[in-house]
């Protein structure tokens, strides 16, 4: 008996994996992929699934590989930039293959909403010879997860389930096999010693033809699957995958005689046979896809190979946007451009809105901000003061390198404390490079606790080894905050909730050979400024571990208020901190502290007239 449930795409993937008999799940948090592993955690105990947040994506994949070598069904979850971190083991794994099944959930982020890149995992699959399934909604995500496990098991290769934000973070009514997932009986016979598990140039040379042959077999198989389907009867073909296919369906509603839509659900290896029979029935082809022109390149190749007289309209000839997230309106505009070019009189029409975007009055900018009471604000402000002092005393400027996490928001006005940010763990290495080319400038690098364990340690080792004059500021808020508060190696608890050894960040830094290491609580701004100053004055690599607690997971025990009688209205607190709890009503000069105050007291510590006072226990 099937059951309808309201599921987020990531939840649907988790249920699909459990029903496919997943036994080991690893991952590193990353928006928009995180909820898949978190959903597995809810069932881990009941269904006997070993689940872990690994220290990074490479480690997650390698852990999963060990389990898959033993015949287990495994799932590894990450966002698209996490795949870059995991790419080293993945590129080799394709040659070796797996026993059991290994599925990677990789979530792409067109837009991007919360990522550094707009990379396209479909293209990565092509590059790495890994099949890629591309669901359009939570229902398909559920079904294609099961298919991914089947294919991985049958062909003994890793399979990527690639989603985008609008699949992973959409909810829909999903028809699932049962109200609560029932795992299939999966056997894991354990590791058997065999030369096939040890990669070596000769083995790679032997396996490469096999790997290429699997791609051909998969392309054949994919052509017969219902996830690649044709609808409509027009002479203008449209090819699309993922959510773009749904945008197309909505955009061309009522024009089914003008267009024929070929939806591709198994994008790599490209289902050539199915595509060819579709292409033979049309005269023109429109390609609708977010991110890279992957389908467009496949279609161009196939049209060339088969000598078909089909003109192709996509990103490459300027008809569709090359970047950014798509929607129905973008598809309508782009298809209309093609129709106009073809001399067609028909065109798709937009709905008429209550008001056009251009007619809106000016609206307040609402940039994401560090939370009220966030410890990162105190640390950024402390370094700002220390750097000011350094400039005053010895005319030395400071460059601040950031990293990936909530604290990237230190870049925002009025803190303006992030001068560089590239990828996870890059802050300190970049600061090292900057120190070689800007010897008169002080280098400071910020890194969060989870990011430190993810990929920050090699940069510390390098700074010590090569003697870089860099100050590392570790923002230890005792959680992986940005992605929703997952535990990490410094917490002393695993994803499954069992106690583990908490790794001490200051101890790690010290053991790498950093001679100046301080640990400071962030409650006192003065202590933070002092530690920052000392660390910056130290010649050679230095580090300060700032300890606080993320306000997202702690209950405030106090709050502060501004005394309206004595407040001079100087606006210093507002202009310096950008704390969302401090609010200056329009047209007034005395700010108020709102309910969102979580009692960090930073404003009270900087108020020039001492008019911000602790108000006591918050209701």
């Amino acid at each position: 008996m099937t059951e309808k449930k309201l599921l987020m795409g990531n939840e649907a993937i988790a249920l699909g994996a459990i029903e496919a008999g997943v036994q080991v799940v690893t991952g590193y948090p990353g928006t928009p992929s995180t909820e898949a592993l978190e959903t597995i955690l809810r069932y881990a105990d009941r269904c006997g699934i070993y689940t872990e947040w690994s220290s990074n994506e490479k480690v997650a994949l390698e852990t999963a590989v060990g389990a898959a070598y033993s015949g287990a069904n495994v799932l590894v979850t990450m966002k698209q930039v996490g795949l870059n971190v995991a790419s080293d083991p993945l590129m080799s794994l394709t040659y070796i293959g797996v026993k059991g099944a290994l599925v990677l959930l990789v979530a792409d982020d067109p837009g991007p909403h919360s990522s550094q890149t707009e990379q396209d995992t479909r293209v990565f699959g092509h590059f790495a010879n890994i099949p890629v399934l591309d669901p359009a909604n939570p229902q398909e995500a559920y079904e294609l997860t099961k298919l991914a496990f089947e294919l991985s098991h049958e062909f003994e290769i890793p399979v990527i389930l690639r989603t985008t934000t609008r699949v992973s973070h959409s909810c829909g009514d999903v028809e699932v096999a049962a109200a609560e997932p029932v795992p299939v009986e999966a056997s894991c016979k354990g590791f058997t010693k065999d030369r096939r598990w040890t990669i070596f140039p000769r083995l790679t040379a032997e396996r490469h033809p096999w790997l290429e042959n699997v791609q051909v077999q998969l392309s054949e198989r994919f052509s017969g699957l219902p996830y690649n389907s044709v609808s409509g009867s027009g002479k203008i073909g449209i090819i699309a995958s993922g959510v773009s296919a749904l945008y197309v369906k909505e955009a061309v509603k009522g024009f089914e005689e003008v267009f024929t839509l070929f939806r591709v659900g198994t994008v790599y290896p490209f289902p050539e046979k199915a595509a060819l029979s579709f292409l033979k029935g049309i005269e023109k082809l429109i390609v609708v896809e977010e991110l890279d022109p992957y389908l467009e390149e496949q279609a161009l190749q196939l049209v060339g190979k088969a000598h078909l007289p089909v003109d192709i309209y996509g990103k490459k000839n300027g008809f569709f946007p090359v970047s950014g997230e798509y929607n129905v309106d973008i598809v309508i505009d782009s298809v209309n451009k093609v129709l106009a070019d073809l001399g067609e009189t028909a065109s798709l029409s937009h709905a008429s809105p209550a008001i056009l975007r251009g007619e809106l009055p000016p609206l307040p900018v609402r940039a994401p901000t560090l939370c009220a009471g966030c410890m990162h604000r105190t640390v950024f402000y402390a370094f700002k003061q220390a750097a000011k002092q350094l400039k005053k005393d010895s005319q030395v400027e400071t460059i601040f390198s950031g990293d990936i996490g909530c604290y990237t928001l230190g870049n925002a006005y009025p803190l303006n404390m992030v001068d560089t940010c590239l990828c996870m763990g890059a802050g300190m290495s970049i600061a090292g490079g900057l120190s070689r080319t800007n010897p008169e400038v002080k280098q400071v690098a910020f890194i969060g606790d989870s990011t430190f364990f993810h990929s920050g340690i090699p940069a510390v080792v390098n700074a010590v080894y090569n003697g870089a004059d860099v100050t590392l500021a570790v923002l230890d808020n005792r959680t992986t905050a940005m992605t929703g508060h997952q535990p990490h190696p410094g917490i002393g608890v695993t994803a499954l909730g069992s106690p583990s050894k908490a790794i001490d960040i200051a101890g790690v830094v010290r053991s790498c050979g950093v001679e100046f290491v301080r640990t400071v609580e962030t409650g006192s701004l003065e202590n933070c400024v002092e530690a920052a100053k000392e660390a910056m004055e130290f010649k050679g690599p230095s580090a300060v571990v700032f300890k606080g607690k993320c306000v997202g997971i702690t209950k405030p025990f106090t709050r502060f208020a501004i005394d309206p009688d004595s407040c001079t209205g100087c606006g210093f607190c507002v202009k310096q901190l950008g704390c969302p709890a401090i609010f200056l009503p329009a047209g007034e000069d005395k700010p108020l502290i709102q309910d969102s105050c979580s009692g960090c007291g930073l404003c009270a510590q900087i108020c020039p007239s001492g008019d911000i006072r602790e108000e006591g226990v918050k209701k």
Binding site: K4, L6, T31, P32, H113, S114, A136, N137, P138, R166, H169, S170, C171, G172, D173, V243, L246, Y247, K249, E250, K253, G254, N327, V328, D329, I332, H350, A351, S352, P353, A354, I355, L356, R357, L360, P361, L363, P364, V365, R366, A367, P368, T369, L370, C371, C406, L409, A412, Y413, P414, M482, V574, G578, C579, P580, F583, P585, A586, D595, S596
Partner: protein
């Protein structure tokens, strides 16, 4: 179980379709409200999808959720000019999402403004009264109340989202009955917060009855179930 929906008739003359956009600021409960509407729609026998902006935007940024209800669901994002109902938990966020509202679409707006955390030099002043006046001037079907205050009277300002669902159900702006959404409230809201949310929901229904010109929803819309 399901009758013909009357909402959205005239959208290419096909099956029932009803698109709702909820807009607000991180922390206002946009996601919970959207989940409650989606579950209620399923209970009423419709298909449904939602798309939320979550992640970095939760840190005091703009948050919105697109809820699509109908016999058939296309992509999860509502195209411009297609939303039948815009529920705005905050004036500026309501105006920001107006281009999604269809020409004769309806708006329920919370007049309680949340000013942005910081005002970078050169960014526009936030004048909530002017924005509310703009809404009144440009949209016919608008219901504007201080739902935050209404929720606070019921027990907590945090239930403004649920109070707004109460207003939507009470004016018959939803394609299902208030009983269905109350049933969802019973299962979705943890027990310790349930009574106060129920009070906010019902308080809003009572309050809108006092507003002249608000039609009785039960008569205006043929309900499902």
């Amino acid at each position: 179980m399901k009758n013909e929906g009357t909402k959205g008739e005239g959208t290419k003359g096909e099956g029932m379709k009803y698109d709702i956009l909820i807009a607000g600021v991180g922390g206002q409960g946009v996601v919970l409200a959207s989940r409650m509407l989606a579950l209620a729609a399923m209970k009423a026998g419709f298909r449904v999808s939602t798309a939320e902006t979550i992640g970095m935007s939760q840190r005091e940024g703009s948050v919105s959720s697109h809820i699509r209800i109908g016999d058939e669901i296309p992509g999860s994002l509502i195209p411009a000019g297609q939303a039948d109902l815009l529920i705005g938990l905050e004036p500026a966020e309501t105006v920001r999402n107006l281009p999604f509202l269809k020409k004769d679409g309806k708006i329920i707006v919370n007049s309680h403004a949340i000013p942005p955390a910081s005002k970078p030099p050169g960014s526009p002043e936030y004048d909530p009264a002017a924005l509310l006046a703009f809404l009144e001037a440009h949209v016919q079907g608008i219901l504007c109340l201080d739902f935050t205050q209404l929720a606070e009277e019921a027990g907590t300002y945090r239930a403004a989202n649920v109070a707004m669902l109460g207003a939507a159900a009470g004016t018959g702006m939803l394609p299902f009955s208030r009983e269905i959404i109350l049933a969802v409230l019973e299962t979705e809201i943890p027990e310790k917060h349930r009574a106060v949310n129920r009070a906010a929901f019902e308080g809003a229904i009572e309050r809108i009855k006092l507003i002249p010109g608000q039609p009785d929803g039960e008569q205006k819309v043929k309900l499902n179930v």
